[in-house]
């Protein structure tokens, strides 16, 4: 599940954006980089939240 999401979001997303959505390659890669930067703190915060209210 993680692997499918991963490839969909970070590997296929660039092809999708450039080929089907007609975004320039440079912009697609910028979007990708930004999404990774956002993901890092979000993953950590979500994990902390899951520890608080999950178990």
């Amino acid at each position: 599940m993680n692997a499918i999401g991963f490839y969909l979001l970070w590997v296929y997303a660039i092809s999708y954006l450039t080929d089907d959505m007609h975004v320039s390659t440079a912009d697609a890669i910028d979007i990708n980089t930004l999404s990774l930067l956002v993901m890092m703190p979000v993953v950590t915060l979500a994990a902390i939240l899951s520890d608080r209210i999950g178990p």
Binding site: N2, A3, F6, W10, I29, T33, L36, L37, M39, M40, V43, T44, A46, A47, I48, L49, S50, D51, G54, P55
Partner: protein, 143 residues
């Protein structure tokens, strides 16, 4: 470990001009091995962390492999940008592309070092030692 070795080997692959189609086949083969190694290492690292984490912080601990893979992606992009800017695009196409792959050797060495210094999860060390092989015990006592 396997990841680092494959990455380094990609860095020293001969080109298509030198050995023809075999170069492409070798590259695909090494990429497959890299994929297999991700499949083994990534979930393995999550389980390892989950077993070591204090009960209340299991989610926090196991989020780090995901954080790390994103950071690795960004590090890769940053390194590629740096190399391209320093030596120029033409040089990257000739030999510069090998540099990041060769740095995979550093990862491989780190992998060996970490593996040497890893401990069993606390729960495993508390478990009593086995009196007999589980298979024999199952056959003998649990019909």
């Amino acid at each position: 470990m396997m990841m680092g070795v494959c990455t380094t080997l990609i860095g020293v692959l001969p080109t298509h001009a030198e050995i023809g189609t075999s170069a492409a086949l070798l590259l695909v083969g090494l990429r497959i091995l890299q994929g297999l190694s991700v499949g083994g290492e990534y979930p393995g690292s999550i389980v390892f962390l989950a077993e070591h984490a204090p009960h209340k912080q299991r989610g926090f601990y196991t989020s780090w492999p995901m954080f790390g893979s994103a950071a690795g992606f960004l590090l890769g992009s940053a390194l590629t940008t740096l190399i391209t800017n320093v030596i120029g695009e033409a040089a990257v196409e000739v030999w510069g592309w090998r540099v990041p792959f060769l740095l995979g050797a550093v990862i491989a060495i780190c992998g060996v070092y970490f593996r040497r210094h890893m401990s069993e999860p606390p729960a495993f060390e508390e478990a009593r030692p086995l009196d007999e092989l589980p298979l024999f015990a199952a056959v003998k006592h649990h019909w």
